[in-house]
């Protein structure tokens, strides 16, 4: 049974539901907390109360700003063409944000058929990168694909189906080249080339092709990596968000909404003073990465469910309107999706000596700054209007 009764997807009801969910979470936390660092629980409760009181205020202004303006802008652009979305996601890439982009895809463990990072397909992306980067026109021929992935133990149809799944996921296009007389057999032969749509090709050429100014030779730079494909995958979903069946259905909606909800919650978590033990730990004091300790009690099962169930719906509503919101699964599976959150974003959200640590990345800082500015504006609005 779900803690919060299933609701129709209206914005106000979603906000009310969020407030009730946080009520539950606060009650649960007051009854039982697992944080051992002094002051962690009051800090966490304080943040949850701010979320409860201020996030839904002004018709959910903070949600609109953080989800529409920051998260969507970086990972899931709206009202743009496929190529524009792709370029935007590509431009918001930083080394740390690549972890999130990677997780966005690896996180889809629920969707076994459509997951592009499922069993054999993880390396397939790497091989596709290799195949596409060999030719400076970003084309691969189907035979090349079969030669790379053909396995004598697996029927060829399996490889063909696999290729088609990947083509659909990335929104690639195919071109046919008909040879009237093949040299070997003197028969007509059809070669199928796979490539990116024209607009995408232009973006790729601009970003990843290195031209030799004298010889005019073109080659693909090393920056062309698997995350380019993952950005393409996200752009494809962002553009086709209204056509659920073409983007993998309910599981995709649930997966993306859950990860964005996690990004939002992680961004607003309070930083705590690290224990001396943690400060001495080499992973924590690494000079290259900025890490902060955050409370861990929100990851307890009952608290997590209370926070995330309504939040995931809010995210879904902002990303894809009522259609997405209604696609959020309201059954026991929902709980499974919540529990997945515990092991998502493992590279930016990691355990060090039993404490939950967050790697500071640009999107967390941007979201936190926006929330704080809006909170201050809300505060000053209240003080000026109070007689």
């Amino acid at each position: 049974m779900s803690i919060i009764p299933a609701l129709k997807c209206s914005w106000n009801e979603l906000l009310d539901n969020f407030i009730k969910g946080l009520d539950n979470a606060i009650v649960e936390l007051n009854a039982h907390s697992i944080d051992t660092i002094a002051g962690a629980l009051p800090l966490l409760l304080d943040r949850l109360r701010i979320m409860q009181n201020n996030f839904p205020a002004n018709n959910g202004q903070i949600f609109k700003q953080t989800i529409d303006d920051i998260i969507q802008n970086a990972f899931f652009p709206e009202n743009l063409t496929f190529a524009q979305s792709f370029e935007k996601i590509l431009n918001s890439r930083t080394h740390e944000q690549d972890f999130i982009i990677n997780e966005l895809v690896n996180g889809f463990i629920t969707s076994k058929a459509k997951a592009i990072a499922s069993y054999s397909q993880g390396p397939i992306i790497d091989r596709m990168v290799e195949a596409f980067s060999k030719r400076n026109d970003f084309h691969i021929v189907d035979h090349q694909f079969y030669a790379m992935f053909g396995d004598p133990n697996v029927p060829r149809t399996y490889v063909m189906i696999n290729l088609q799944i990947l083509i659909d996921l990335f929104g690639l296009v195919s071109e046919e080249l008909v040879i009237q007389k093949d040299i070997r057999k003197s028969e007509e032969k059809v070669y199928t080339f796979y490539t990116f749509p024209n607009d995408i090709l232009n973006v790729l050429k601009k970003k990843y092709l290195i031209t030799n100014p004298v010889t005019g030779n073109l080659s693909v730079s090393e920056a062309f990596d698997r995350n380019v494909f993952i950005c393409l995958f996200l752009a494809n979903i962002a553009v086709n968000r209204s056509n659920l069946s073409s983007i993998g259905g309910k599981y995709t909606v649930n997966g993306i909404s859950a990860i964005f909800a996690l990004i939002l919650v992680l961004s607003f978590m309070p930083k705590m003073t690290a224990t001396p033990q943690l400060l001495k730990h080499p992973s924590f004091s690494s000079p290259n990465v900025s890490i902060s300790v955050i409370p861990k009690s929100w990851m307890m099962k009952k608290v997590l469910e209370s926070i995330f169930e309504p939040l995931i719906k809010i995210i879904a509503f902002r990303l894809g309107g009522i259609q997405w919101c209604e696609a959020i699964i309201d059954t026991e599976i929902n709980k499974k999706i919540h529990t997945q959150i515990r092991f998502l974003l493992k590279d930016v959200n990691k355990w060090i000596l039993g404490e939950l640590c967050r790697v500071e990345i640009p999107i967390f800082i941007e979201i936190l700054n926006t929330i704080q500015v809006t909170l201050q504006a809300q505060q000053s609005g209240r003080t000026t209007t109070t007689p």
């Binding site: 599981y251 033990q277 039993g354």
Partner: protein
């Protein structure tokens, strides 16, 4: 490759002695190449195909380089650059040629032995006990945890069997197993149950519900792992108690205690409770330590993967050491065709008893398989590149 590089260097030197401007004409370089190709094809038929391939690559690269920079550099400077880069390439090949002694005489001082030991200490150390190995791995995990994790995860993991008929075989890690290990770590850190330590009744150890670990998986997609849970958790130092709970094995508890991953707390009942404070690497490193200690029982996939990584690190480390970053011939060395000629032999050498001591008979020879595992070269992780740089520094500073 080496004779062709040496021959090319000689030709360039002679050419610039005659007149440096000759170098600027692609026609002259091409005519030299044609002449060389003709002569050699008659000589050694078996090797001629590779020679022609390498020679054409070398001449193509030189032509491109000359075309690109002829407006900016004088012919003499161009020739100097080419000769320097050829010299560096020959030096790198010289090191590879004498990487070890065929008769294993004085093998301790060979590059192969020193490099294998250097990498082994960081990623796959030997030791008298699992405690010592774990400790050594943990000492290196600050800098190389991602490499250590990578070493456990063969790209051919889909061929691994969780339930091998041979009880002792240690398979590689799949991404799903890695996810499950992460999940177990989270459960221990969040709100575990506690139960009596079977071997020491005065203590309580943390336990988590076995079924909870598999709760996030929808549509039974982790069914195989769930059925083989006993085998899976055995590799990460855990055991099943009462058919319900996952708890650390007795030996692992001592390791966890000595590394601060368990904290003792006295309970009102007088019992001492071990409270878990795991890090991401706690369980993974046990798996690696376990595999390292029983390296004679590794699965075929895992042996090939480990040997492949060691071979690649050694090869790339030597290249990084000898070749300058802007060496125009770098791409020949990084080409899959060159890798296929060099790495399989290195992989076998690395498995000999004086080096990694793994079963070299399990190194696969099929071309298809090589293609499959070499594919990972295109998706190297950043941490591996860091280690390659460290290896180059080690080679540069070692006496």
């Amino acid at each position: 490759m080496k004779p062709i590089l040496r021959e090319t260097r000689r030709i360039i030197i002679e050419l610039i002695k005659e007149d440096p401007v000759l170098l600027l004409s692609p026609a002259i370089l091409n005519s030299v190449r044609e002449k060389e190709e003709k002569r050699n094809i008659r000589k050694v038929r078996a090797l001629s195909e590779f020679s022609a391939l390498y020679r054409s690559n070398i001449y193509e690269i030189m032509n491109e380089f000359i075309e690109e920079f002829k407006a900016k550099l004088t012919p003499q400077l161009l020739a100097d650059y080419i000769i320097d880069h050829l010299k560096e390439s020959i030096e790198a090949l010289n090191i590879l040629l004498k990487i070890t002694n065929p008769d294993q005489n004085n093998f301790q001082n060979t590059y192969l032995q020193r490099l294998v030991k250097y990498i082994e200490d960081r990623l796959f150390p030997k030791g008298a006990s699992i405690q010592i190995i774990y400790q050594n791995l943990l000492n290196q995990s600050k800098d190389f945890f991602e490499c250590q994790r990578h070493l456990l995860q063969p790209h051919t993991f889909y061929r691994e069997k969780l339930e091998n008929p041979d009880y002792f075989v240690i398979p590689g890690n799949s991404p799903k197993i890695y996810q499950i290990i992460n999940n177990i770590t989270s459960f221990y850190n969040l709100d575990p149950n506690y139960g009596v330590f079977p071997e020491r009744p005065a203590y309580e150890i943390p336990m988590i519900l076995k079924n909870e670990v598999f709760e996030p998986y929808i549509d039974s997609i982790a069914k195989t792992e769930q059925e083989a849970v006993e085998k899976v958790v055995d590799k990460i130092g855990l055991r099943i108690i009462d058919d319900l709970f996952l708890a650390p094995q007795e030996a692992f508890i001592d390791i966890l205690m000595s590394n601060n991953f368990l904290r003792p707390a006295v309970q009102p009942s007088g019992k001492i409770r071990y409270i878990p404070q795991f890090s991401n690497e706690t369980l993974i490193l046990y798996y690696l330590a376990f595999a390292s200690m029983r390296r004679g029982f590794l699965s075929k996939e895992l042996i090939n993967w480990i040997a492949m990584n060691f071979a690649l690190l050694i090869y790339m480390g030597i290249l990084k050491w000898k070749l300058s970053d802007d060496n125009i011939f770098y791409k020949i060395f990084k080409d899959l065709q060159t890798n296929e000629k060099i790495l399989p032999y290195l992989m076998k050498l690395i498995c000999f008893p004086n080096y990694l001591g793994m079963d070299k008979m399990k190194i696969r020879d099929s071309v298809q398989y090589r293609k499959e595992i070499f594919n990972f070269i295109g998706s190297q992780i950043d941490n591996l590149k860091t280690l390659i740089e460290e290896i180059a520094i080690f080679l540069d500073t070692a006496p």
